[in-house]
Symmetry: D2
Subunit: 140 residues, 4 copies
């Protein structure tokens, strides 16, 4: 990912590792989600408050390439870049890099839609927030 | 999925649901993994014992389509069908169906490789176990 | 636990085990909670629906004795017995037994209160449901 | 806790919250464990490496008072103070404070023993590491 819209730094918690001594596959989705939600906070939005107003950001497809596993003690970077796809979809391209050597551990593509009371809605309301934050969504 | 090699029945635990009142996206990977590991048990293999012998089944790519969310109280079926891809990859096509109405909630394609001491190995040893169990892997 | 009000049977999922190859300490709270919530369902109550009506069952103290660890492949029984303490508290005495040999793995005492809109309320409404289900709460 | 031996700062991840919109009870054990393991790292020990050498730090009892719940967006402090109990036990008194107002959210007392190949051993080897780090364990 040459450039990105947002990144956070986290570190592995031992309980996130499984019998193989590496971070369990499902846990990376927690990392990726936390990065997306922190990004929403950064631009003035809140996943929890949006839900209370009937607006939900919904993942409809996740594609995750597991390049190399994180281990106990590892610090890592989670980053994202957004793009639009068609009228309704927002794509998050996300990467997880091991901090010590910037090695790419996870490459992911998360497809989301916004819903109001369960019905898909245009992401225009969020786009305004994105623009105020200086982010121009590319077309995927 | 017209036919499948293995299926289990589970039910949602309330703590698996998040603020939106639905099962969190990452949790479905737990369900899918549990189905794969139970399937290994069924044909006489154990994920934990294999690991102790230096053999690990490793997920290298997960593609998950979130069709509809599971909710508190839901029982559901997790099923899988295996196929080979090339010399080294085993593909698990997996589905999660809501039990009450057989509605498709999750459709997934999990790509795995076997490793011995971290190096990819041919899945032939497992294929023997599969054949003994009457499973003929199709080519993906 | 000589007698109990409710029990369920579950089995360990491999991802619930940590680097030590045993179920992580925090996961037993998931098992214990799932047993309590299933028990509520059994007597006609739902944790999720209660929450939607502003009524929450809240854990205020957990005491958990870890006797012996569950491992991959283990099936186990989770059981509970309820008692009242004072006007507001409901105590759940809970145990987890390994199914194969009925060995006691976990002994717990979970203290809960009911709240409506965040304020503690008398558990009388639930007591009615308990009595209809033939359960007489002892005084702890 | 007037004084403490170690503290870390974390923040709530949305997926850690359940239907009630608050951090699930089991998750605080993850926070408490992560603080203990980071503390081990701080004084030159590693939970994962100790396990590989046959030495495990084992929780035998957890007592957790849930004073007030953490919510999405909250940052918080996890801190610990160690004490000895008898020849074999190490007690961790732990607290979780909400960062914004230093409100006490969780108060816990975690009783642990060290084992080598499953047998309890004296914590003297760790005591040396503690002393090097300037920590004098009080008697509980």
């Amino acid at each position: 990912m040459k450039d990105f819209d947002y990144q956070i730094e986290l570190e592995v918690r031992d309980h996130e590792c499984d019998i193989q001594g590496i971070v369990n596959n499902s846990v990376y989705q927690n990392y990726l989600e936390h990065c997306r939600h922190k990004f929403l906070n950064e631009i003035g939005l809140s996943f929890a408050e949006m839900h209370n107003q009937g607006i939900d950001a919904v993942v409809i497809r996740a594609e995750i390439d597991y390049k190399s596993p994180l281990r106990p003690g590892d610090s890592f970077i989670v980053q994202l870049k957004m793009a639009k796809q068609g009228r309704l979809r927002i794509i998050f391209r996300q990467e997880i890099l091991r901090k010590a050597d910037q090695k790419l551990m996870i490459s992911a593509r998360i497809t989301t839609v916004l819903t109001r009371n369960g019905k898909p809605i245009s992401p225009e309301s969020l786009e305004e927030a994105f623009k105020r934050a200086g982010i121009n969504m590319e077309v995927d």
